[in-house]
């Protein structure tokens, strides 16, 4: 049985004369971690805000947890968690009291202390929220987003300002939420984050979906030619091939021992992504 949490058909939104969202179709399944990528102004924030029920739309069908987010009520809100792009003001109270207070809004909340533990703020639990560092405030944002045990969690650039260790701990948290059945919709500028977390990534540019696939297969990435490079006779050499294993095996016969500076490289998610975004630029700037 398919268990679709988000269904979007031909979503459109205009700001003045600009099509911020120009016809987007999406289906996101329960328990999926779905990453939205795209340059600033591509329409991903607008799309997410429409899904969250914070912005109206000009056209298209949207169902989120079976309801139209533009009209959904409190019971629907209780099933959706939102972590905003910027950290936002919280009451000037100790961390624990803030989380407890927000837990009180929900019909079915997690234990506040446990949530604080999960986001790694236990040692700051008794301190004022305003005394936290940027990264710690972000963790508090996440705590407030998940304390109501959401079935669907929106994360808008959640790890901005995190150090690498904090980012990895955060990824573990997101994976455990998804394993528990929470659907995650993530926007991020970190390609590494999308690759580590997402079941599928969706690249949005100019208000349209440019590609949608698993991170490994995005834009034919898995089947692209690999680049084998090495050093020979004092210079760097490389070949692009569909069969890197064969290329390396052949070379191994020519060298005694190690092949100097051997590397086999396939395009990273970042390269594929940048390629797509640049294609769009070229297409747009080309004379008609």
């Amino acid at each position: 049985m398919r268990d679709t949490v988000i269904e979007v058909t031909d979503l459109r939104k205009r700001y003045g004369a600009t099509d911020a969202v120009a016809g987007i179709d999406l289906d996101i399944e329960r328990g999926e971690i779905f990453a939205l990528l795209g340059p600033n102004g591509a329409g991903k924030s607008t799309t997410v805000e429409i899904l969250e029920g914070f912005r109206g739309r000009d056209g298209g069908e949207v169902r989120v947890l079976g309801e139209d987010p533009g009209r959904a009520g409190r019971a629907w809100r209780a099933r959706v968690g939102v972590v905003w792009q910027k950290e936002t003001l919280v009451p000037k109270l100790p961390v624990r009291d803030v989380v407890r207070h927000f837990a009180g809004y929900y019909p079915l909340a997690d234990d506040p202390d446990e949530v604080i533990e999960r986001v790694g703020l236990t040692h700051k639990s008794k301190e004022l929220a305003e005394s936290l560092s940027g990264g710690q405030l972000r963790r508090l944002d996440v705590a407030l987003g998940i304390v109501g045990r959401p079935e669907l969690l929106f994360l808008d650039e959640p790890t901005t300002g995190f150090d690498p260790k904090a980012r990895r701990e955060f990824w573990e948290l997101i994976r455990s939420l998804a394993a528990g059945g929470t659907t995650i919709v993530l926007t991020t500028h970190y390609l590494e984050e999308a690759e580590a977390l997402a079941d599928r990534v969706c690249v949005i540019a100019h208000g349209r979906i440019r590609a949608i696939d698993t991170p490994a297969a995005l834009d034919g990435r898995a089947s692209r030619q690999a680049t084998v490079s090495w050093r020979e006779e004092g210079e760097r050499r490389e070949v692009r091939t569909d069969e890197p294993t064969r290329a390396v095996a052949e070379m191994a016969g020519r060298f005694v021992g190690e092949i100097p500076e051997l590397s086999v490289h396939r395009p990273t998610l970042e390269e594929v992504y940048l390629g797509m975004i640049n294609d769009d630029h070229v297409a747009e700037e080309a004379p008609v």
């Binding site: 936002t88 009291d97 394993a179």
Partner: protein, 288 residues
């Protein structure tokens, strides 16, 4: 670490835990009370607010009663003369000024948006603000009457009728100024602007509404202008409650005009409510 190596196809193949069943969201009144408690705790942590909006009228009363004690020529001790006006000012301060600045700040720093992302009903937010203002307004009355009585031996009203007048002026004036404060918060584009948009007119009103300077000293056009705003009527109503009957001769019409006071404040309640309902926004302008 284990989740890292898990094949995504197996995670989706295993049955996800079913979504938790949720009861009804908590009631608006209970949430409003808890919101009010958070408001009070938050307010008391900000010494600037406590000093400028809560303690200032009592400080001014103390100064006037001390400095002008020996050379005051209004036929009564300075403390008795200034007490009713400063009560009106204090009530406007804790309602109009507190709400105007705090709501603009909460809106601009995204707190209101964050609250809208939870299942908190909008009414709970306003119940919370009402509790805060009620708490501060009652505290203001107790503080001013206490300082006046204990330190300066002021004459307090002795008849039930006079206390009743004080009570309804308190209620109507505080409600009108609260609604006006909420309405003004929507006019400010930034929290810094809110402080100016709120404090500036409030300061002007204090000088033209008979708080520091008797209204009969005002030129007619200025008196007419000041009569358009609630502070003048609140001060007049408070004087009616505190002053001996003979002092009515110093009012613009030579009488206390209590029905007119009630009418003016009543109109402001209606106007304030209408403006609040039509202009209140959870988001900033740039959030769309």
């Amino acid at each position: 670490m284990n989740t890292w190596t898990t094949d995504p196809t197996t995670t989706t193949a295993t049955a996800l835990p079913s979504p938790p069943s949720r009861g009804r969201p908590p009631g608006a009144l209970r949430l409003g009370l808890s919101q009010g408690w958070v408001e009070i705790r938050t307010f008391s942590r900000e010494w600037e607010g406590v000093l400028f909006t809560f303690a200032l009228p009592a400080v001014i009363l103390t100064l006037f009663a001390t400095v002008m004690g020996g050379m005051f020529d209004m036929g009564m001790p300075a403390v008795d003369y200034f007490l009713p006006g400063l009560m009106a000012m204090g009530l406007m301060s804790v309602s109009f000024q507190t709400l105007g600045v705090s709501i603009a700040t909460e809106r601009d720093y995204g707190m209101l948006r964050r609250l809208r992302g939870t299942p908190m009903p909008a009414s709970a937010y306003f119940v919370g603000k009402t509790i805060l203002v009620l708490f501060l307004a009652l505290g203001q009355v107790v503080l001013l009457l206490g300082v006046a009585r204990l330190f300066f031996d002021a004459t307090l009203p002795t008849t039930v009728g006079a206390w009743a007048t004080m009570a309804w002026v308190f209620v109507l004036g505080t409600v009108a100024c609260s609604l006006l404060g909420i309405a003004v918060s929507s006019m400010a584009r930034t929290p810094q602007a809110a402080s100016a948009v709120v404090t500036f007119p409030f300061l002007i009103l204090q000088f033209v509404s008979g708080i520091f300077v008797p209204v009969m000293a005002l030129p007619e056009w200025l008196l007419n202008l000041a009569s358009l705003f609630p502070l003048l009527w609140m001060a007049q109503g408070m004087r009616a409650a505190f002053f001996p009957e003979a002092m009515a001769a110093l009012e613009p019409s030579g009488a206390w005009d209590l029905p007119m006071v009630a009418l003016a404040l009543g109109i402001w309640c209606v106007v304030g409510l209408a403006v609040t309902l039509t202009t209140f926004r959870w988001k900033t302008r740039k959030d769309g």
